[in-house]
């Protein structure tokens, strides 16, 4: 009863003290933000959320106790009047009291440690089931490369994975690599973040319970355009996911814009970009084979419209200053042709 009361008090304080926390602590309410960590939709994010509620309860209880003592002492024992009166009784310490406020915190620490250790093990040491989707995520300055090694698909920035019904789970396991500096993969509603570090492969997993598009972004400072290294996760039905995979495996259908293709392959574009089925086999930039199947360009910095594409090819710095893609100095007709070529890459 007592502990119930305390937990109730703590929750009440959550709603009072943490402005907006009442709404935040309401699970599955992403209205505040599409990246609310308190609106989890996948097992790792959910177990983190459960632990965080316990931690919030305990810390709020501690806050109430100490804050009440502080306010009481500051008001009750404030000096009244200006006249100099006798010095108060000098107290030098109390073994019992000091023992109490040593032992009780030790017990709290033990509880918090055990609860954390359990969640750490459950997330980090989870086994990978045989049906899990495997994706290799490679961080680049300033975009994401996704490789599905067993499915033969390479894409960028927008990750597609199947929804994972808790009764028939299809989790996705990510292997995290980096091509240059440190990055961090963070989609708050699906899982905590894990860093992508060169020479230091990491892994993480998620099993989204609901379909939808989930936003995230790089969470480890990686250079000039760290801010616009955005990412999206598209969670689809297994059927839709399979159709997407099927489409992505096809080489590019390149017969719509021969002029643009010629310019593309004549300039330095091909040093960095791949269009499968053509002469373009560069690896530094995103694979463009199915560029038009993506909703955004420049790692989420702009929506994928013909105007934005043209602007991006003309001068990447206008959309994403500091991006690693150079402006190629194309003439207006050349720009139109290359944009038209891009638009055929469906």
């Amino acid at each position: 009863m007592n502990s119930l009361m305390r937990s109730f008090l703590a929750r009440a304080l959550v709603s009072i003290c943490w402005s907006a926390a009442a709404a935040l602590a309401e699970p599955s309410n992403p209205r505040l933000s599409p990246t609310n960590i308190f609106a989890p939709l996948s097992t790792p994010a959910q177990s983190i959320f459960d632990l965080s509620l316990l931690v919030l309860d305990i810390t709020c209880a501690i806050f109430i106790v100490v804050f009440a003592l502080l306010v009481y002492a500051a008001i009750k024992f404030r000096k009244r009047g200006t006249a100099h009166v006798h010095e108060p009784t000098q107290v030098y310490g109390s073994t019992q009291l000091e023992l109490a406020w040593t032992v009780i915190p030790v017990l709290v620490v033990v509880v918090l440690f055990l609860a954390s250790a359990r969640v750490i093990a459950s997330i980090q040491n989870a086994d990978r089931p045989a049906n899990a989707i495997q994706v290799t995520v490679i961080g680049h300055q300033f975009w994401w490369e996704y490789r599905y090694p067993s499915l033969g698909v390479v894409t960028a920035n927008e990750l597609h994975i199947p929804v994972s019904d808790p009764s028939k789970p299809i989790p996705t396991f990510l292997t995290l690599l980096s091509a240059d500096t440190d990055h961090s993969f963070w989609v708050p509603r699906l899982a905590g973040k894990t860093d992508l570090i060169p020479n230091h492969p990491n892994r993480m997993w998620m099993d989204p319970h609901e379909m939808g598009v989930y936003l995230g972004q790089c969470a480890q400072y990686c250079g000039t355009q760290h801010a616009l290294m955005l990412l999206r996760v598209y969670v689809e039905t297994p059927d839709a996911f399979n159709r997407w995979i099927e489409n992505q495996r096809q080489p590019a259908q390149v017969n719509g814009a021969p002029e643009g293709q010629k310019i593309f392959e004549r300039t330095a574009c091909v040093n960095c970009h791949t269009v499968r089925g053509t002469a373009a086999i560069g690896r530094f930039g995103p694979d463009l084979t199915h560029l038009m199947s993506r909703d955004t360009i420049a790692s989420g910095a702009a929506t994928n419209t013909p105007e934005n594409l043209r602007r991006w090819i003309q001068n990447p710095d206008a959309i994403k200053p500091g991006s690693k893609m150079p402006a190629m100095g194309l003439s207006d007709p050349e720009l139109n042709s290359v944009t038209a070529y891009m638009e055929t890459l469906r």
Binding site: L24, S47, T59, I62, L215
Partner: protein, 558 residues
């Protein structure tokens, strides 16, 4: 062990010497009080620099897709802000107070090594100049970059030649290397002073708590700064001699840099917070009119924080992919440090309990510190739970948390200390009205900025981004956070105005304006070069209490 400055302070000679001579006497001084004041002045100037950089960042983030500064400039601003505030504001000002106060409080005439003291100060000062020279010289031969833009913890491989051309990173390395030598020199000096130069009767158990906390801080400086210095040297080898310690393209390890940096970086937090605790432990008893509660356990908790503080560094690295065992260990050590810290908070409360609390400006800042440090500790516990940290780490929640520690905890007690010891250092009383105005402006600004900064973190906003798109639910919080900055800036201006006004026009303070109990108040304000005409002897932790209450001295009870 009396020492003399080369040039006697002019005031003692009864005449005012020419300006150039007075300046010369400050540059060549080896007096611990003058060096302490130099540290403090120097640090306050860097506080302004760091504050301006913070303001630029906050203006950029006041609304989504703002274009007040370019990403390149923004990245330089947060790098310079962090580096400046930690290495050239917080550490030097703590050394300044340690320099000024420790010899006075233990009844000594100077630090153990006055020349080393001057050397250390000028190394630190030179380091700060090197860092800021990067704005001019950072372009180097490459014409790339000006001030460093690698973040204050400068993760590899961003610092390698490949990703950081020009010399900006070199200035960053050299600045920290040079000021690091200064820090270690001062730390050695503090330890030697406290161990060897206490006055008669002052056993270790009778030192003021400030001396204990400063001693522990100095020990941590030696343990923490040395690995940082080593890492900076290794980075220089990488950049100029073809080494591959952190050069991942040649098989080096980025994670090793993280370990090197945080094995410095976390103890550094305690290097800064222990002096803050020290100020609170001196100020709270005096304004509550009571002896510090539980002196022995306060000392034990301090030393305990020192030891445990050396074993928690990898809680900054919960997201880098350590094993579950390692993560669990660092959860335990991080949580464990809450115990001695909690003891301290309870003991300060118990000191106030039953007292007659007088809310002068220093005490106001200390009470706000207690409240804010409590919250900082509790958000620290949240991030100490590693899984919770997987969400919170590198988000604005972390930024809010550590500013709660560094501003809400450390800067607030620093203001308290400046007001509390200003009468001793200048001989003049500060203006209580301006002091309280400063306090309220700063409290309002602080809470507007850093309370609301937690929320975008919870809503998924990473730190170190120069812009964000609308529709993520972050806009309103960033607006409030930026508004708070202007209150803080106003408070800071009132603070500086108060210092100048009081120095020139304040009323004479007298040697003991607070009716306090430690030895620095037994000499004149400001103290003479030799501190004490006769080296005092003490019988208890509060020698001036014994003097004022001969009928009921402390040594009856200790």
């Amino acid at each position: 062990m009396p020492t003399e400055s080369v040039v006697k302070p002019a005031a003692e000679l009864g005449t005012r010497s020419p300006l150039v001579e007075r300046l010369h006497s400050w540059v060549t001084t080896v007096d611990h009080k003058r060096l302490g004041l130099l540290y403090i002045f120097y640090a306050l100037i860097f506080l302004l620099f760091g504050g301006i950089e913070a303001t630029i960042m906050r203006i950029q983030l006041i609304r989504p897709l703002n274009s007040f500064v370019s990403p390149q400039v923004f990245n330089r601003m947060f790098t310079m802000h962090g580096t400046t505030m930690i290495f050239f504001f917080a550490m030097p000002i703590m050394f300044g107070f340690a320099n000024y106060l420790v010899p006075l409080m233990i009844g000594a005439r100077d630090m153990a090594f006055p020349r080393l003291n001057a050397f250390s100060f000028w190394m630190t000062a030179f380091g700060g100049l090197l860092l800021y020279f990067s704005f001019v010289g950072g372009d180097g031969l490459y014409g790339a970059g000006s001030a460093p833009d690698v973040g204050w913890f400068a993760y590899a491989p961003l610092t390698s030649k490949t990703f950081s051309q020009g010399h900006s990173t070199d200035f960053w390395i050299l600045a920290l290397l040079v000021s690091g030598f200064g820090s270690v020199g001062t730390a050695i000096n503090i330890i030697a002073t406290i161990i060897c130069m206490r006055c008669k009767g002052m056993s270790l158990g009778k030192m003021p708590l400030l001396a204990w906390l400063t001693l522990t801080m100095a020990g941590l400086v030696i343990l923490a700064v040395s690995p940082l210095t080593a890492a900076q040297l290794m980075l220089l080898v990488d950049r100029y001699l073809g080494g591959h310690f952190f050069d991942t393209q040649a098989g080096g390890s980025a994670v090793m840099w993280m370990h090197f940096f945080w094995v410095f970086g976390h103890p550094e937090v305690y290097v800064l917070v222990l002096p803050a605790f020290a100020f609170a432990s001196e100020i709270i008893p005096v304004f509550s009119r009571k002896a510090i509660f539980g002196y022995p356990i306060m000392v034990a908790a301090t030393v305990c924080i020192g030891f445990i503080g050396m074993s928690v560094w990898a809680h900054h690295m919960f997201t880098v992919g350590m094993t579950s065992t390692a993560n669990s260990f660092f959860v335990l050590s991080t949580m464990a440090i809450a115990v001695p810290t909690g003891i301290k908070i309870f003991n300060w409360l118990a000191t106030m309990w039953g007292g007659q609390i007088e809310f002068r400006t220093p005490m106001l800042f200390c009470v706000a510190f207690l409240f804010q440090f409590l919250i900082a500790g509790l958000t620290g516990i949240m991030m100490g739970a590693a899984p919770f940290d997987w969400q919170l780490s590198a988000s604005y929640f972390v930024v809010a948390h550590f500013h709660y520690v560094i501003v809400g905890g450390i800067l607030f007690t620093l203001f308290a200390a400046v007001y509390y010891w200003f009468p001793k250092m200048s001989g003049k009383m500060y203006s209580e009205t301006l002091g309280k105005l400063h306090f309220w402006l700063f409290v309002i600004g602080f809470h507007l900025t850093f309370d609301f900064m937690h929320i975008p973190g919870i809503l998924g906003m990473p730190r170190r981004i120069y812009t964000y798109e609308p529709g993520r639910g972050w806009d309103i919080w960033n607006l409030i956070v930026t508004i708070g900055v202007f209150f803080q800036a106003a408070g800071l201006l009132v603070f500086i105005a108060n210092l100048f006004r009081s120095y020139f026009r304040g009323r004479v303070a007298g040697s003991d304006p607070w009716d306090a109990w430690t030895l620095e108040w037994s000499t004149t304000s400001p103290p003479p070069a030799y501190n004490f005409a006769v080296i005092p002897g003490v019988k208890s932790r509060r020698p001036l209490w014994d003097l004022k209450h001969p009928e009921d001295p402390d040594w009856h009870y200790e």
